[in-house]
Symmetry: C2
Subunit: 134 residues, 2 copies
DNA sequence: TGAATAGTTGAGCGCATATTCAAATAATAT
DNA sequence: ATATTATTTGAATATGCGCTCAACTATTCA
C-alpha cells in the first residue's frame, strides 16, 4: 500500500531537524547489531542467572549445589543453566552423573561487576521494570 | 507443611557437596541485589532502547527526530523514552512543544560499549533468546 | 477561537520466558 | 535386573513487555 516502511505516525520527511535526523541515522546501531547486543544484556537481566553467576565466580559447582545454595528447585536451575550454556555464559564437565558448571567467559564477569558498580553509584528507582516473582 | 522453604525437588540437606553449598550461599548475591542488578541489564536488553542510546550518544534529539532516524512511530519511541526516563537512562528538556532527550548517565554508555566489546570478541549464537520481532 | 503540531498515555494484542510439574535419561548401587 | 540418584527436558501456566491504535494534553499559528 505504501512505498516506504512507515506508518502514518512516522514523520519520515524528518520533521523539525532534518540534518540531525540524517546524522542520527548514520551513527545509529543497525537493527542486527542492536539485536545481538540486546541478547547479551538479556541473558544478564534475570535475577536467578545473576545469582548463579555470582556463585560460579569462585569455581565450578554441581547443579544440585547451585539449587541448594539458591533455595530453588533443581529443575528451575537446570533450565536456567541451559539458557546460560546456549548463550555461552557457562560450560560444564560431567563426572559420572554429576554435572559441574563453571563460567565460560570472563567478559561476563566484567559486565557483571560493571553492573554492580553502576548499581552502587546511581540509585535508580526499584519500580521500573518489574521482574516476575512467584 | 514443611519447616523449611524448599519443595520436594530441592536437596536442602546440601546433597553431595555440603561445604561447597555453604560457601556458595555466603557469596551468592542476595535476591534483592540480584533484582536491582537485573533491572539495569533489563533496560539495556531491548534493541530499540540500545539504538536510542547509540543515537543519543552524540547529543540531544527531539522525539520526532529519534523516531524518524529509527523509522519507528513516535508513540513507540515515546513509550521507550518513558521507560528509559524512569530508569534514569535519559533526561529531557522542553522547548515549547518540543522535547529534547539526552543521555542522563555515562555509566550507561560504559555498559553499552562494554557490551559491544563483548560482542566483537566472543561470538555467541544468534538463536539464543529471540527478541520480539513484528 | 479553531486548526495544526509535538508529544504522552492507556488499553489491548501477541509473543517471550521463568518457574512448576511430571516424565524421561543416564549413571551408580544393591 | 531393580532401585536410587543427578540431571534434563517438554508442556503448561502466568506474567512481563514492546508495539499499535486511539484518545488526550499542551503549545503554536492562523
Amino acid at each position: 500500500m505504501r512505498s516506504t516502511i512507515h506508518q502514518k505516525d512516522v514523520c519520515d520527511v524528518a520533521c523539525i531537524h532534518p540534518e540531525a535526523v540524517e546524522q542520527a541515522r548514520k551513527r545509529a546501531l543497525d537493527s542486527l547489531a542492536a539485536a545481538d547486543l540486546s541478547r547479551i544484556f538479556q541473558v544478564m537481566s534475570d535475577p536467578t542467572r545473576l545469582r548463579i553467576i555470582s556463585i560460579l565466580a569462585d569455581g565450578e559447582l554441581c547443579v544440585c549445589a547451585i539449587a541448594s545454595a539458591l533455595s530453588m528447585t533443581v529443575s528451575a536451575v537446570s533450565h536456567q543453566l541451559r539458557t546460560m550454556r546456549i548463550a555461552q555464559l557457562v560450560k560444564y564437565r560431567k563426572e559420572g552423573r554429576i554435572a559441574f558448571y563453571s563460567l565460560d567467559d570472563d567478559h561476563v564477569l566484567k559486565l557483571f561487576t560493571q553492573g554492580l558498580d553502576h548499581l552502587s553509584h546511581s540509585q535508580a528507582p526499584r519500580t521500573t521494570i518489574n521482574k516476575r516473582k512467584r
